[in-house]
Symmetry: C2
Subunit: 192 residues, 2 copies
DNA sequence: TGGTACATGTAACATGTTACATGATTAG
DNA sequence: CTAATCATGTAACATGTTACATGTACCA
């Protein structure tokens, strides 16, 4: 029933439920770990989608265990809905990068402030790259033992290449932007 | 008035209005061209944000010209709100990449289907890179004539580096994924 | 004179975010 | 005992998407 197409967030929850029943909390943790680099999910959404999918008959709740954990399990309809969703051509990706928005209006901002923003973002990307790289090493071991699929490896590889590209971009920014050497247009004076 | 912080989409419209009054339609076109690679905006949003900002006194509408074009102009309050928004630390970027979501559940999908998705996405990225590169050449000329700012150049450079990284990722995908050489787990048979 | 691109807007809905309320369990 | 973490959920709101309605101006 409810033939309405699944949204990607809900679908990913169904995907995770293929490896056995789990609670909203667990699904949230799993999602952050497995698809976090390219798909963000909030706790609030998880519970909302689970409730909606239960109403739609795609999952069923078990008796709640310790701490009120309420494990959900896939139904046949859920499996079918997931398979239908998975076989549809994925839509193009979306990027929303507020730092770039700020930078593209750089002429209206003091160059020192912009340089601070740039540096603080650069640092978080350095950290993220390190995290992804250590996650890859871990995956690598599991994979050599034949315990993991190539898909998780490929998507993690995307994260790594993305972070590297971002860092290279930071490193190639002109010094005026990256270090705020010269005054910008509006906020710090006029150039003529 | 209405001290509520501006959202990034509305703020970008204010940013564009700094170079003179323009209509919703023009703003939409400008946004697509100038910030499209990292900030998507729909037509519907533009009109909604403009209406809201007019109510909040950040912009004022002029007499409508030919074709009912309704040019909006920045007010002092609008300028101030924009400056406040611009000086805030930008939040981290968000990526939503449905193809990666699909791929991470690749074990449940026929490898031929996945390979088709991959190839069709790869092609659109090839095209986008070409577009960005030709935009850069155009910008380069204007810039050498001293007519453009370094900021637009830097943000476009991001787009180019991003697209290149994505293409390299596609090229390094294992053949099983990229070309669908072997059967996947669920949909096309069992392995072990 | 008819089609295409221009142009504005609304309605309905889907999705995402933030803040809060509530309580259980565990570790120190 | 008490603070941190685990765990679930709701409410209110912000933002984004899709579909539609309406009409104008330009060009072949």
């Amino acid at each position: 029933m409810t033939q309405r197409t699944l949204n990607a967030t809900a679908a990913s929850l169904l995907g995770f439920l293929h490896s056995g029943p789990s609670s909203g909390w667990d699904l949230l943790i799993t999602a952050r770990r497995r698809i976090g680099p390219f798909w963000s999910i909030t706790q609030s959404q998880v519970y909302r989608e689970l409730a909606a999918m239960e109403r739609a008959g795609l999952i069923t709740a078990h008796q709640s265990g310790p701490r009120d954990r309420r494990p959900y399990e896939l139904t046949g309809a859920g499996r079918a809905a997931f398979a239908r969703w998975l076989a549809r051509e994925p839509s193009p990706e979306q990027i929303r990068f507020p730092l770039l928005l700020t930078m593209s209006f750089g002429a209206h901002l003091s160059s020192e402030t912009l340089a601070e923003f740039v540096e603080s973002h650069r640092r978080t990307h350095v950290e993220r790259l390190a995290e992804y790289e250590s996650a890859r090493e871990a995956l690598n071991e599991v994979m050599q033992a034949g315990m993991a699929d190539a898909y998780g490896f490929a998507t993690l590889d995307f994260g790594i290449r993305y972070e590297r590209a971002v860092l290279e971009w930071f490193e190639h920014l002109p010094a005026r932007i990256r270090e705020g050497r010269e005054p910008a247009d509006d906020a710090a004076g006029t150039r003529g």
